[in-house]
Symmetry: C2
Subunit: 157 residues, 2 copies
């Protein structure tokens, strides 16, 4: 653990922007007629829940990776690699599900994402304990999203 | 097949920029001491080969997706979804290999990328035959890259 680095607004904004990037896939791929016709479990949240939830989670992720990137630890490069892996898997889910209409491939993707978040939390914690802890709500939500994706896949096979 | 749409330079530049985006991971994750120590097969190309090869391939990919995006076919949305899936898998490989130093996970990624390119070529061909054919060098190179990744994984287990 190194001393707390000085606050940098440009660096924080940079990492927030990077963290929000996978959310842009939600602009390109929107729920369509196929999605509305899918059989959903009765615990499927209403559609309006997802945008504020992801906004909140992307902020936490951005603050967490900012804390990691600002610290000059020998564990920082591995932690940033894990961050990019989860970022890319997060961006992959939307084109698989809403683009290709493939809940099966999306399920494989979200399971891989779950493991990548665990890897990111472990790697972040080695650099800064708070940064790892900030990802806990993200892991919880993706656990729920994995169950939801699995249920939708199962109900519509 | 619809009539040839009018040429649009802004649209071509837009799709070229999107197609090059995964190449940005090569700026963040560079070959390091770990990579230099890896045992490589004797048919491993010299390092200078990769940048011009990928530049050439990203140009072909950008021209291909531009041709697809400009055509108002019922198959265009599925074709663009496949395009984004291969794009994201392409961006995932570098942080897995050069960031996390995991040739095993990178191999899983590049195999998934190979299948995503086949899916993209099939979907592109439905919209425009030339767009599908433009991806043939990309599939060839990723076939070679898969063999190379598998060899490096095997030699360094």
């Amino acid at each position: 653990m190194s001393a707390s680095p000085r606050f940098s607004l440009p660096s924080l904004l940079f990492w927030l922007a990077i963290s929000f990037a996978p959310g842009l896939t939600g602009i390109a791929f929107k729920p369509d007629a196929w999605y509305r016709r899918l059989i959903k479990p009765d615990w499927n949240p209403p559609a309006w829940v997802f945008a504020p939830t992801w906004t909140f989670l992307y902020i936490l992720i951005g603050v967490a990776v900012y804390r990691v990137a600002r610290r000059d630890s020998p564990h920082t490069p591995a932690a940033l690699s894990w961050f990019f892996v989860q970022l890319v898997l997060n961006a992959l889910w939307t084109p698989l599900f809403f683009g290709l209409h493939r809940p099966d491939l999306a399920l494989i993707c979200v399971v891989a994402l779950w493991f990548a978040i665990v890897g990111t939390m472990r790697a972040f914690t080695r650099v800064n304990a708070a940064a790892g802890a900030l990802l806990a709500p993200y892991l919880l939500w993706v656990s729920f999203a994995t169950a939801l994706n699995a249920a939708i896949w199962h109900l519509n096979r």
